[in-house]
């Protein structure tokens, strides 16, 4: 009996891994195509990292480094979306985080590690508090997430500008703060490390504890979760808090990278890119199942795409169009219905062609949502 159980368990786990991989395969494919295109245009230098000034460089590593803030935000957003929510305020929180840190450092001894540390701590604390506020609005006042976070999306940039007085404060190039964006540990750029650590931490937090399941439960059916005794309010608040925290952290990295904080343009429209990455990664906006790894791939696609446009020499006017095309391609490839539709003429040629069983049953899963 128990042997049988074990067998079915490991089989189930394999099936689960298989499912998980199937979700990722199309975004991964698109990412690979983008990389191949870049290699074709600029040679293998694109993918092979080089070491420069004790820091890993090269086109692809640079993409990863620059995408770190987006990744952080997209990870937080993934959790929020899993609970059927959405957070529009992340761009503003990014700006606030950046503004606080720079403004704090500028007025003080820029070389002091202590000052930098305090600046970072304050920025992160404020970002987390803003996130928690969003969560409270959603969980306790029952305001729709999009409206609740819209308020801070509008006001947040104002707050950031208020902090900087409408200026773009820039810190000295020598302050340790800039290491957050430009530095490297063991040649690995710090932003990549931070994003990697946060990714690992969130993955561990949600997958080794029950948090992930509870999140998916709250997102999948809030009322059923309530009746099952889940503390959905505090989970919701927690998730928005984490999202705010990630956005603040992203703002710090962005500010450190530039050595300045642009309250008005820092992280502008990053919420759309973040949501895009989440959805490309296979997490549905309707809540429920979420995929942190998928989100990561989504971020990589977006980051690579921007470089690709420049590398193949398209003018700026093409930026939007190219992005539209890639988004559509990823979305369509992920759609079983679309694949079946494309495959149909091919399959029809086979005598007595097997009916499209697979594609359809997955379609029904979607139907029953």
């Amino acid at each position: 009996m128990s042997a049988l159980l074990d067998r079915s368990k490991s089989a189930a786990r394999a099936a689960w891994a298989h499912q998980y991989f199937r979700r990722l395969i199309w975004p991964l494919g698109v990412l690979l195509v983008l990389i191949v295109v870049n290699i074709a245009v600029t040679g293998f230098d694109f993918i092979i990292p080089s070491v420069h000034d004790g820091r890993l460089g090269g086109a692809f590593v640079n993409i990863l480094r620059r995408s770190a803030p987006l990744l952080l935000i997209a990870l937080g957003m993934t959790l929020v979306i899993a609970t059927k929510g959405i957070d529009l305020s992340v761009g503003a929180v990014y700006a606030i985080g950046a503004a606080i840190a720079c403004q704090w450092i500028i007025g003080r001894d820029q070389m002091s590690l202590g000052v930098v540390f305090v600046a970072v701590a304050i920025a992160i604390a404020v970002a987390a508090a803003i996130g928690a506020w969003n969560g409270l609005m959603v969980a306790n006042f029952g305001i729709q997430p999009i409206v609740a976070t819209l308020i801070l999306m509008i006001a947040g940039r104002g707050i950031a500008q208020l902090i900087t007085g409408g200026q773009i404060p820039s810190v000295s190039d020598e302050t340790p703060f800039v290491e957050l964006g430009r530095g490297a540990v063991l040649t690995i750029p710090v932003p990549i490390i931070i994003a990697g650590v946060v990714l690992a931490a969130l993955a561990l937090l949600t997958r080794t504890t029950a948090l992930g399941m509870l999140l998916e439960s709250v997102g999948g059916n809030p009322e059923a979760s309530r009746l099952a005794g889940i503390r959905s309010k505090s989970i919701t608040v927690l998730v928005y808090l984490v999202c705010g925290l990630c956005a603040g952290l992203a703002g710090l990295i962005g500010a450190a990278n530039l050595g300045s904080a642009d309250a008005n343009n820092g992280g502008l429209w990053i919420e759309l890119d973040a949501i895009l990455a989440v959805v490309i990664g296979g997490t549905a906006l309707l809540g429920g199942r979420f995929f942190l790894l998928g989100t990561t791939i989504g971020v990589a696609i977006i980051g690579t795409l921007e470089v690709t446009i420049i590398n193949i020499g398209l003018s700026s006017q093409w930026q939007f169009t190219a992005k539209a095309i890639v988004v559509l391609v990823v979305a369509l490839l992920q759609s079983p219905e679309f694949r079946a539709w494309v495959a149909k003429p091919l399959r029809g040629k086979r005598p007595g062609g097997a009916p499209s069983a697979k594609a359809e049953s997955t379609g029904e899963e979607a139907l029953v949502k």
Partner: protein, 506 residues
């Protein structure tokens, strides 16, 4: 009337990812007959219906309607082809009014515009015809699930199709409504409508059907004239095991009367304005208290207060002698009160999560997110309850939304049995559950109460209530009107009498 079949399905096969739901099934529906499709939970009944009505595309097989081969690609097409269906879960839209739900897609119109006045009038007439009186302008979602089921039936009947399919239409109805429904069905049959009827209530099936098709595990067992198939044989065909054992279980369930233990909960003047009048109720350890009443009498509202699902605004609630302060589903679960709600789709299950996750949910919730149920314990418990409740397919990693209705109900039950509560509140736990499983569940309830658990039990089936309960609280018009001790001679008629008598008082 010719005997040329109206619907003929041959060799129908349907695969879902990993499951073969139907395997070469034949099905024939003749004009004017009422044809029951029988089988255990997960046997493939609903799938057969869905294949016929264009929700699913069959992987193999042929469908003929009036002798012509057809393949509908949507329920809309099936409706246009003359097949009207009530699917198993209530599939109406809660945000629209009752009248709109009744006439959605075929509203009476004045030119291009909907004639709301006519629609409401016709809706009232239609509902009156099957004996219900609702505010047809109110949103459907404000009515109980039973009412919604009746509305769905009314809608399907009114479409005046040549084929009417009813997939477990009676699962939340009580006997009066069922009687009305059967009467309507007979009338339709006389007018030549052919009907497919799916139900786990054998008495209803025998009362109404002319012919039966039995499925087991996605395969066809056979087709019989109802009159020629004794009940025990039918059960044998459905379950593939002897019917005798089943009866024995049922009888066993009826025989128990342990001593009444400590009171687990006692409600004093507990009530909620506009929902349920203040009532007193005590449930003791090792006792099963049944709630009986007609549709909408307030049974659900009563137990929701005790479960903390709704907030009470009068009275007090004591748990194990101590008065409870803050009361919500979470604190209730921590105290050991489990509440298995009546509407599994909207209040019970999380469709995207797997069977195992759904089962473990309440246990995990009470532990908090940081303390995970150890994987070993988790898989042991899940396996145990899959076996105990005979959940099929026995794959804990399937999304629960892919399970058949009855198996979903069992998953929900398992969730709460798993936490070994002190008080188990079951609101219509046997809805849509096949005879075998129903007996299993009844036995389980008896066993649990034998082990000292208090059980509060709501069911539309008075027989079930009488058989299981040590005491029966009777409700009428959202008021608790009597508490009856179950003596040996307790019958459902007595309960009905109580209800009627008190009604006469007013």
């Amino acid at each position: 009337m010719s005997d040329e079949p109206i619907v003929q399905m041959t060799g129908i096969t349907k695969d879902f990812t990993g499951v073969r739901a139907l395997d070469g099934v034949d099905f024939t529906l003749r004009p004017g007959e009422i044809h029951a499709v029988m089988g255990e939970n997960g046997a493939g009944k609903s799938t057969l219906i869905k294949v016929l009505t264009g929700v699913h595309t069959p992987d193999a097989g042929q469908i003929r309607l009036d002798g012509r081969p057809v393949r509908f690609n949507s329920p809309k097409a099936a409706q246009a082809g003359g097949i009207s269906t009530v699917y198993q879960e209530v599939n109406l839209t809660e945000n629209l009014s009752v009248a709109e739900n009744l006439f959605a897609g075929r509203e009476p119109r004045l030119g291009p515009f909907i004639n709301f006045r006519a629609m409401r009038r016709r809706a009232r007439a239609l509902l009156e015809d099957i004996g219900i009186d609702l505010n047809v302008a109110a949103p459907l979602g404000s009515y109980s699930i039973a009412m919604q089921q009746l509305v769905a039936i009314a809608r399907a009947v009114d479409i005046k199709a040549k084929v009417l399919i009813l997939d477990e239409p009676t699962s939340s109805l009580d006997r009066d409504e069922v009687a009305v429904l059967l009467r309507v069905m007979r009338r339709l049959a006389e007018n030549g409508t052919a009907m497919v009827f799916i139900s786990h209530f054998l008495d209803q099936v025998y009362e109404i059907s002319d012919r039966m098709t039995v499925l087991r595990n996605g395969t066809l067992v056979g087709e019989w004239e109802s009159a020629a198939l004794p009940e025990s044989d039918l059960i044998g065909h459905m379950l593939g095991r002897e019917a005798a054992t089943l009866e024995q279980i049922e009888r066993q369930a009826g025989e128990h009367k342990p001593d009444r233990g400590e009171p687990i909960v006692s409600a004093k003047g507990l009530g909620r304005k506009g929902s349920i009048a203040p009532y007193d109720l005590e449930v003791h350890a090792g006792e099963v208290v049944g709630l009986a009443g007609l549709l909408g009498s307030g049974r659900t509202e009563t137990v929701r207060l005790i479960a903390g699902a709704d907030r009470h605004d009068s009275g007090t609630l004591a748990f194990e002698g101590k008065s409870v302060g803050s009361h919500n589903p979470r604190t209730a679960a921590l105290r050991g009160i489990a509440f298995c709600p009546e509407n599994r789709k909207t209040e019970g299950l999380v469709g995207d999560l797997t069977v195992a996750e759904n089962m473990i949910l309440a246990m995990q919730a009470s532990k908090g997110w940081a303390r995970t149920v150890p994987p070993a314990q988790r898989s042991r418990l899940v396996a145990e309850f899959i076996e105990k409740l005979d959940i099929r397919p026995a794959n804990p990693d399937l999304p629960v939304k892919n399970l058949s209705g009855g198996n979903q109900q069992k998953v929900l039950l398992a969730r709460w049995m798993l936490i070994e509560p002190k008080l188990l509140i079951l609101d219509e736990p046997t809805r849509g559950i096949d005879v075998g499983a129903k007996a299993d569940i009844q036995r389980l309830v008896t066993e649990l109460s034998g082990d000292g658990m208090a059980v509060l039990f709501v069911s539309a089936e008075l027989d079930e209530v009488t058989r299981l309960s040590d005491r029966i609280a009777v409700l009428r018009d959202r008021e608790l009107i009597a508490t009856l001790e179950t003596e040996a001679d307790m019958t459902s008629e007595k309960i009905v009498d109580t209800i009627v008598a008190k009604g006469g008082d007013q």
